[in-house]
Amino acid sequence: MKGGGAITAGALGIDTAQETDRIVARIRDIVLHQLKRRGAVVGVSGGIDSSVVASLCTRALGRGRVLALLMPEKDSASDSLRLGRMLAESLAIPCTVEDISPILKAARCYERRDEAVRLVVPEYGDGYKCKIILPSLLDTTGYSVFSVVVQAPDGGTRTVRLSADAYLGVVAATNFKQRVRKMMEYHYADLLQYAVAGTPNRLEYDLGFFVKNGDGAADFKPIAHLYKSQVFQIARYLKIPDEIQSRPPTTDTYSLEQSQEEFYFMLPLEKMDLCLYGMDHAISPEALAPAVGIEPLQVARMYGIINAKRKASRYLHAPPMLVGEMADDRL
């Protein structure tokens, strides 16, 4: 690894106009010429990533060739739908709302999740809320072990370490949400002969923060190469509504509000960005730590976590594996 060197928090600065033009040209080529689809469906959550993707697609394909699909469910934050509509109105693109709660109820998503939580919190039931968390990198020197935070109807909360069965049960149940949303996106893609846009940023894509065949599925992923802080830079350039730009990134998956940091990344996203950048540029923990604002030992630990997440995400990224050989000239 490289030793010293002037690494600053500004290392991820980009020429937003140039990068926007480059992405827009690529979207146009991919959707219209390679995939030969007439436009793009974007699942819009009211967050920064999907807003930037919808805006880039609108620039690339035109207002009449982008559909903003809003898919709230029972546990969605109350402002997700409002911000999604605000984004569609600001871009002047068609917007369709599909409440996916009935599908999730039919699949017993909520029941299955609650049954899994009850494995470690037997009293969990009607009126309770929950979320899954990891400890912050800054608060622990141990392994990353998942816990569930439950809030009782009287507002009292407690945190309980999950058993493996409970963790897998909760995740398997809540993954219905991302998969149902993707199913709905492809429904509209079939209907309109559109392609489906994926909205992961670099942190999410690289480190496997997505559901296989859920939000991990898409026909193209136009911001998967951008660090989160670069997505914010592009958002400013694209004049995404301020309220969306200032909204804290959330998973919007659990009934208790949950940040991406506490569910997966274990560091604030701007620090996580720098750690991923440092890792990819072979910058030593000692050289990177001042820019991140944490100790070199903590950077070294995060490098280990990044390695572990990359290994764990190989399955998520893997396409269906064939046993026999096939000609690969379809594109």
């Binding site: 990891l134 020197t141 141990g142 392994y143 990353s144 072990v145 998942f146 370490r161 999950l162 058993s163 493996a164 963790y167 897998l168 280990g304 390695n307 572990a308 290994k311 764990a312």
Partner: protein, 109 residues
């Protein structure tokens, strides 16, 4: 069926842990795993695997793994787990299975 108490020494404990790792994470490819190998370095255990390991240790050796003890220092290799179990009283402090037996585990038949 639980039929009684059997005492486990460090060698037996290491073999039990190896069997658990092999059955759940190595799928029969454990020849190259040394007792001193770091699970993190080899990439064996993910966050779910840690939870499963904690439960295995709790059930098989009748100990309670506290949140503070879930560290690589205690759990990152077969050797480290054996030392940890000795400290927790989950297995015999000695190595031959006859001396310093401090806790037992139930054997099944």
């Amino acid at each position: 069926m639980q039929t009684g108490i059997t005492y486990m020494n460090t060698t037996q404990a290491a073999q039990e842990i190896r069997s658990f790792i092999e059955e759940n994470y190595l799928y029969g490819c454990s020849d190259s795993l040394k007792d001193s190998d770091s699970f993190l370095d080899v990439g064996i255990l993910d966050s779910t695997g840690i939870l499963q390991l904690i439960e295995f240790l709790g059930e098989r050796f009748r100990i309670t793994v506290t949140d503070e003890e879930v560290t690589p220092q205690n759990l990152d290799s077969i050797d480290k787990i054996v030392v940890y179990l000795q400290r927790k009283g989950g297995i015999a402090a000695g190595g031959d299975g006859t001396a310093d037996r401090t806790r037992g585990v139930e054997a099944s038949s």
